[in-house]
């Protein structure tokens, strides 16, 4: 049995019973889509159309449709790739790392955050594949004997490590997410009325019945998957950073990249989780599950990782000076004061200065401010990747090759297009899948819900005003302490 301090804010408010949880979450799945959802989906589908058009132009006419030139031969594509992969990392952090640390508050947000991970990785994967120019030959990245002989892939290349890292990350996240979904699909299946719903959720639930042995194995599997996902998530962005760090381009060739990229990834990921959660909780009326406390906790993680990123920026500058390498020093001076100074300034402002506002309790608990902040961080982290990639490439060793980069309309189309792809997938997920892990929220309900034994008197007084939700408390009061 668990003990929860009575000083701790309840994780689920509103005096919810077990049945209320099922009702509140399944309601979204069972109800007809509402207008706000339809409106949001149409906007997302429009941008998905933009994505398909940009893909068509890229594939049909070739990479020349992008703004790349022979000096800046990596720009928006890799910026977007790293940005999307980074966003994905918060989902795994919430589902795996916070599980190992027994952070119960993750229960309300892990499902949507993991979905975000999967969709973000799908968006990320588009860019390297399209950059190949001939995406139908994408399978050549795997160790595949080519048709002319037995020439294999080069295992010394970080780009190949990336192939393995991203594929492993995507499939592992998908499996982890799906195993968590199975018991919830069973809940929906057992409530389903229509034949189509009954059939679909029977298929999706894999015949789950909630038997004791199955639950026992389920928990073992979750724990081990969390155990392997934790080093996995760190390895993925480490390897992404090695795409740059193992090269000899000034501004890229630094050993600080792996931890710096991992911190940045979690930073941007939490910003995206906040953006999505703040919208989801309002649209689906989940204020009792995703409380201000959750928002404040996520804000704190965002601030910590943001500060790590800030320290990394300053360290890079220090090391450039300390190394006494002329090219390295120029790369950093050029970043801050060269023609792309505005990108650097945006990055510094958005990533280092604004997150510090979270030190104020009022900011941490404010929904509008958190929302604005999360958008700013997302913009800032996009600029970070742009700064690292483009400013390092556009002026390296040979001044005669110096050039500038400007994106083409197709570059922009692909970027906003993947946003469309992402939101289309997320909206479909939010409508047809349970957005909150019901089984896990039910686990914590008795001990950290505000009708549990350690309720907080303030919240209890408030909930006494809702006789409707008070009908049959899930927990029989007499037995609370027998097992303690």
């Amino acid at each position: 049995m668990q003990h929860v301090s009575s000083l701790r804010e309840p994780l689920v408010t509103g005096g919810k019973t077990l049945h209320d949880v099922t009702q509140d979450i399944c309601y979204q799945v069972e109800a007809k889509p509402n207008l706000r959802w339809m409106a949001a989906l149409s906007v997302a589908l429009f941008f998905l159309g933009v994505f398909f058009y940009s893909v068509y132009r890229t594939v049909w006419y070739g990479i020349g449709e992008w703004g790349l030139n022979k000096t800046v031969n990596w720009a928006w594509d890799i910026t977007n790739f790293v940005w999307w992969v980074g966003i994905g990392h918060a989902g795994t952090l919430i589902s795996a790392v916070l599980l190992l640390f027994r952070q119960k508050w993750r229960s309300s947000i892990n499902r949507a955050a993991e979905a975000m991970t999967i969709f973000a990785v799908i968006c990320a994967a588009m860019f390297p594949v399209l950059h190949m120019g001939r995406p139908w030959l994408a399978f050549y990245v795997f160790p595949f004997q080519n048709t002319l002989g037995s020439l294999w892939a080069n295992f010394n290349s970080p780009l190949l490590w990336d192939v393995f890292a991203i594929s492993t990350y995507f499939t592992v996240s998908l499996v982890f997410w799906y195993i968590g979904l199975i018991p919830d699909f069973a809940s929906i299946r057992d409530r389903a009325k229509g034949p189509i719903a009954k059939f679909s959720y029977s298929m999706l639930s894999f015949g789950w019945k909630g038997s004791a042995k199955a639950w026992s194995r389920y928990e073992t599997v979750s724990l081990i998957l969390a155990g392997v996902s934790t080093p996995l998530v760190l390895s993925v962005h480490t390897i992404v950073s090695m795409d740059f760090a193992t090269s000899v381009v000034p501004g890229w060739h630094t050993t600080i990249f792996p931890p710096y990229f991992v911190a940045g990834a979690i930073f941007s990921g939490f910003a995206m989780v906040l953006t999505l959660m703040l919208i989801t909780r309002v649209v689906f009326r989940l204020e009792d599950y995703i409380t201000l406390e959750h928002i404040a906790l996520m804000n704190k993680i965002m601030m910590v990782t943001g500060s790590i990123v800030g320290v990394a920026y300053i360290t890079e500058f220090f090391i450039a000076w300390y190394s006494q390498v002329e090219f390295e020093q120029y790369a950093f001076i050029n970043r801050a004061t060269g023609p792309y100074w505005w990108a650097y300034a945006s990055m510094m402002t958005c990533n280092v200065i604004t997150p510090q506002l979270v030190w104020f309790r009022r900011v941490r608990y404010s929904i509008p401010l958190t929302f604005i902040l999360s958008i700013i961080v997302n913009i800032g982290m996009w600029f970070e990747r742009f700064v690292i990639i483009v400013t390092s490439l556009h002026r390296d060793y040979l001044p005669s090759s110096w050039a500038m980069f400007s994106p083409s309309i197709i570059d922009i189309g692909l970027y906003v297009g993947t946003l469309g792809l992402f939101f289309t997938l997320f909206l479909l997920f939010a409508k047809f899948f349970p957005v909150i892990n019901m089984a896990e929220v039910k686990t914590i309900l008795k001990y950290t819900g505000d009708n549990g034994p350690t309720y907080n008197p303030k919240a209890h007084a408030a909930h006494a005003h809702h006789p409707a939700t008070h009908g049959a408390p899930a927990s029989a009061p007499v037995t609370y302490n027998q097992h303690d």
Binding site: L151, W152, L204, K209, G210, K213, L232
Partner: protein, 175 residues
């Protein structure tokens, strides 16, 4: 073949845990317990042995690691050796990332497939359940009866005495 079950419906996990202990102490075999979420301590109460999945996970991981090392060493060291950046053909440090990723890949998917197989989880058209409320808010203890169901009244009494809010008889077709 159909079988008869007595289903004790419980409202609370702690009541259920005590009931499981008492029912077993009374010498009655529990067929299974269905709950909407994992009830901690129920494994011990039901006498479920600790899962050996972690051991399986270790061996899946080991398989992945060995496969990855074999693959890289065989492909770059023996099958088609290439000089890349003047480095040795078998440069083990460069093989670490792929070896790590494949270890995780094999562990995860091996575990998931084992879990699905031993628990009997696979997509199916129709799922026979004892009580649909077991995935919502009720804890269901199922006790197998004989073919005539004659022990039902005794089981009802036992389950009621241990805090079941209702007891139902259910006939299930075993597949």
């Amino acid at each position: 073949m159909t079988k008869q079950y007595a289903l004790g419906i419980f409202e609370d996990e702690d009541v259920l845990l005590h009931a499981v202990e008492n029912v077993r102490a009374a010498g009655v075999k529990i067929y299974d317990v269905f709950s909407p979420y994992p009830v901690h301590g129920i494994d011990d109460a039901l006498g479920i042995e600790r899962s050996r999945l972690p051991i399986a996970a270790f061996f899946f991981g080991l398989t992945g690691l060995s496969f990855a090392l074999w693959m890289q060493i065989y492909m770059l060291g023996f099958d088609w050796p290439m000089i890349i950046g003047g480095k040795p053909h078998i440069g083990l440090p460069a093989f670490v990332p792929v070896a790590f990723e494949l270890t995780v890949f094999f562990t995860c998917h091996g575990m998931a497939l084992t879990f699905f197989t031993i628990t009997g989880l696979y997509p199916r058209f129709k799922v026979p359940v004892m009580d649909v409320r077991a995935t919502d808010d009720k804890f269901v203890m199922a006790i197998e009866l004989d073919e005539t169901g004659s022990q039902f009244s005794r089981m009802t009494q036992l389950l009621r005495d241990n805090g079941a809010s209702e007891v139902n008889q259910k006939e299930m077709t075993q597949n």
